[in-house]
């Protein structure tokens, strides 16, 4: 399973996405649409840290890192390669 699919499954199962996994596009807005709310961001950080072995810093809590599945995957990739 690709990183994006792993992230997609997490969003569908744990966050406020009410559609199917197929309906959740890589560029679908997660923040604007309220899919990631305040509880969700805590869960998302925990998920990223445990699944991808990265540590999310306070100054990395920016909307652009969490806007879409593409953004999250890019964020994870940048953490891995640094």
């Amino acid at each position: 399973m690709t990183d994006k699919d792993t992230i997609r499954r997490f969003v569908v199962e744990e966050l406020q996405w009410t559609g199917s996994a197929e309906e959740l596009a890589d560029d679908a807005s997660l923040i604007d649409a309220g899919v990631i709310d305040s509880l969700g961001i805590v869960q998302t950080i925990a998920f990223l840290e445990s699944t991808f072995g990265i540590k999310v810093r306070d100054d990395e809590l920016m909307p652009r890192n969490f806007e879409t599945i593409n953004s999250i995957a890019a964020f994870v990739e940048s953490k891995r390669s640094s």
């Binding site: 923040i31 309220g34 509880l39 961001i41 805590v42 869960q43 100054d59």
Partner: protein, 496 residues
């Protein structure tokens, strides 16, 4: 009348900014004119005095224009959470029978979904976005910017649904006079005036945010709205940037947001902020300290409710000593702490908090039941606390959550405090749950752990420290305690 705030502002300082969001700015003159145009449009559409109009919007200038326009024709603005699920919208729709709705594209489709089996509303106005053409600005354009405003102060201006942290959400109606009595009392106590700049991060549909808006506009201040607030962890830097860019003097928020501001990366100060008001839930000392250490600003607690509006604010000269207090009653209001017999207790003694205030709702679903919070002309807030010798209130907990175990009344807070002493426990919430094995409810502790822990270990820990009927029978381990948007623990989600 609520609209008088805008009329006065338009007369005294028409070119002064009233509302700001992003690059959009509306002066008092413009805002008053737009409210009139909107109201004239409603009237032309046959919506007027006595009608209910749903406003289902996030914080934005159109929210403010709609609110003042709706109440200005003598209609009632039904303020709903824009992130409401369909079943919540359906409940509100059946409950208040609205004739119109002002919303955005996502809100419009969720409303239609929630009301599939009922006829469409008489009037719908959808603000553009997400591929949907805008209807709002064409609607207000070209209409007269003045009108004869509705003038009955005792007309219900708003319907809001109380947070429903215990039981089903209840509809609370408040009149123009009730809103304004709280706005003027709060402004007098804190000293809000036209030089103030409010940074509005709380949702405007909710009583706390709405009261801030009404109070600020009544004082002639500038209201800076932040476009995206949730999730706050991702948007707190924008809050700090706006506070500096606009020299905000007032920020009203909840402890969880003050925590996130205190821990935000960066080190620039916020010299302009003179009043950081905190409400919704009691302020933890750790939050007070963290924010004070970071910014040198002592958070001041404010105490209010949907049913009453603001009741008190801590305006103590020495807020670092009195940080735990929510202050004395606002001018024109009286706070009491009552014993079991309904009589006021001595200063320093805990009891049930009650208020006498002109801001109290007179439009609510509570009848004459024994457990009604309306007792004579007093309102029982559902909180427990104590007054000091100077009439300053400290809130210590909630009354409604006493659980009866085997005929004994258990205060969950007491059990939670004991659990907090266990080194592995981060936080806990204790509730009463039905148990098939026994006829009486049993105590369940929902626990979030710092480090792994076992049920029998925690129960044993409680047995050593509490009388037997106070020891939880069940422990449920969770990653997180469910909370509402303003940080209130959703106890009903734990009882299953």
């Amino acid at each position: 009348m609520l609209i008088d705030s805008l009329r006065r502002g338009a007369e005294r300082h028409p070119a002064k900014r009233a509302i700001v969001m992003g690059s959009e700015e509306l002066t008092y003159g413009e805002l008053c004119g737009l409210a009139a145009q909107f109201a004239n449009g409603l009237e032309a559409a046959g919506i007027g005095s006595g009608d209910r109009v749903v406003i289902l919007l996030r914080n934005r200038p159109e929210f403010v224009i709609s609110l003042y326009g709706v109440v200005g024709v003598g209609a009632t603005a039904v303020l709903l959470d824009p992130s409401s699920r369909s079943h919540e919208l359906g409940h509100a729709s059946r409950d208040c029978q609205p004739r119109a709705i002002i919303t955005d594209a996502p809100g419009s489709s969720r409303w239609r979904e929630a009301n599939e089996s009922t006829p469409a509303l008489d009037f719908t106005l959808v603000i553009g976005g997400d591929g949907h053409a805008d209807e709002f600005w064409p609607f207000v354009r070209d209409r007269p910017t003045t009108r004869a405003w509705h003038a009955e102060g005792d007309r219900v201006a708003t319907f809001q649904y109380s947070s429903g942290s215990t039981g089903r959400a209840k509809r609370i109606g408040r009149t123009h006079d009730q809103w304004l009595s709280c706005a003027t009392a709060l402004a007098a106590a804190v000293g809000f005036d036209a030089d103030d700049v409010f940074l509005c991060v709380m949702p405007l549909f909710h009583s706390y945010g709405c009261e801030g808006l009404i109070t600020g506009l009544e004082a002639g201040a500038t209201m800076v709205l932040q476009e995206h607030v949730q999730p706050f962890a991702l948007n707190r830097l924008e809050t700090l940037r706006l506070a500096r860019a606009w020299n905000a003097t007032v920020l009203q928020s909840v402890p969880y947001m003050f925590d996130l501001l205190a821990s935000a990366p960066g080190s620039e100060p916020l010299p302009s902020l003179r009043h950081c008001g905190c409400g919704g839930v009691p302020l933890p000392q750790a939050t007070f300290r963290a924010f004070d250490d970071r910014f040198g600003i002592p958070i001041r607690q404010e105490y209010g409710s949907t049913e009453t509006g603001k009741m008190s604010v801590n305006v103590d000269r020495d807020p670092r000593s009195s940080w735990a207090s929510v202050g004395a009653a606002l001018p024109g209001m009286e706070l009491f702490v009552l014993g079991e017999d309904g009589e006021p207790v001595a200063a320093g003694t805990n009891g049930r908090i009650a208020i006498r205030t002109p801001g109290l709702t007179t439009d609510h679903p509570y009848g004459d039941a024994d457990d009604s919070p309306f007792v004579g002309d007093l309102f029982l807030t559902g909180d427990v606390g104590r007054l000091d010798g100077e009439g300053r209130l400290t809130v210590t907990g909630r009354t409604k959550v006493f659980v009866e175990i085997l005929g004994e009344k258990v205060d969950p807070a007491e059990v939670e405090e004991v659990l907090a002493e266990h080194p592995d426990v981060k936080e806990s919430v204790v509730v009463g749950v039905a148990d098939e094995g026994s006829r009486s409810p049993v105590l369940k502790a929902v626990v979030v752990c710092e480090s792994p822990c076992r049920e029998d270990e925690l129960i044993g820990f409680c047995k050593e420290r509490l009388s037997s009927f106070k020891v939880p029978s069940l422990i449920e381990f969770r990653d997180e305690i469910p909370r509402s948007q303003v940080g209130k623990i959703l106890r009903k989600d734990l009882i299953s």
